[in-house]
């Protein structure tokens, strides 16, 4: 299956090689979870918020063909 992956801010450097920008289309085995993609990309163990198709999704969420997975790392300051 194919999933649109968007990594924001400091996470952009963990994107697979490709053109510039913060989004890529990636091929994944059926049944892959959000947590498995995060592990595969080697994202650091820092605060992050995950959205699938614009809605918050937990790490055990199973992705489906055509999904848009976006990961955003909030930084301190309030």
């Amino acid at each position: 299956m194919r999933v649109e992956l968007a990594l924001f801010a400091s996470l952009r450097r963990y994107l697979p090689e490709g053109e510039t920008g913060h989004e890529r289309t990636i091929d994944l085995p059926d049944g892959t979870t959000v947590g498995q993609v995060i592990a595969m990309l080697g994202l650091p163990d820092e605060p992050r918020v995950v959205f699938v198709n614009g809605r918050h999704a937990p790490d055990d969420h199973v992705l489906r063909d055509g999904d848009r997975l976006a990961v955003f790392p909030p930084v301190a300051g309030g």
Binding site: A9, P47, V49, R55, H56, P74, V75, A76, G77, G78
Partner: protein, 202 residues
Amino acid sequence: MIAVALSESERVRRRLRDARVGIVGLGGLGSNVAWMLVRAGVGALVLADHDVVDASNLDRQFYFLDQIGLPKTEALASNLRRIRPDVQLDLHRVRVSRENLPHLFAGCDVVVEAVDAASEKAAVIEGCCDALPETPLVAASGIAGAGSANSIVTRRLGEKVWLCGDAETPADGHALVASRVAAAAAHQAHMVVRILLGDPEP
């Protein structure tokens, strides 16, 4: 009876007057978002913060020297009522968590995330998305430093989530400068106003 079409300014005034907005965290972002919303005419605010006013807050937060040591909820309420005595304020002197968030902010038309620590921001954003999925959330990230104010922008992050800031500059290692923090707070307050008026584009 004669039907009278509402003028645009009257439509805006009524919509904001009837709105209820929640603010999580009353520091540099939250205290400034609060006064902007009160001046804009928002009728009711739900304000939550566990902290007291510290001398170090006065460089950017909406408090005064004689309020040091007061709970932020109490000090902010008193300052907001000096602007508009009839504003409805629901005060909660608590640290907001995933557990108490739904109870505190159910019934708000929009919620503003304005906490400090990155982990707490993630928890508030996720908690709000999970417990109040239909409530718009305006969050902030990347407000520190003396970088260009023009890099502070509002983005739409999810269906019901907006994010204000440069998304990158953390407060650890960078100063919190009043003017840049206020720019981010103004972005948040204005996005709240736009959402309330039915225009969700940043």
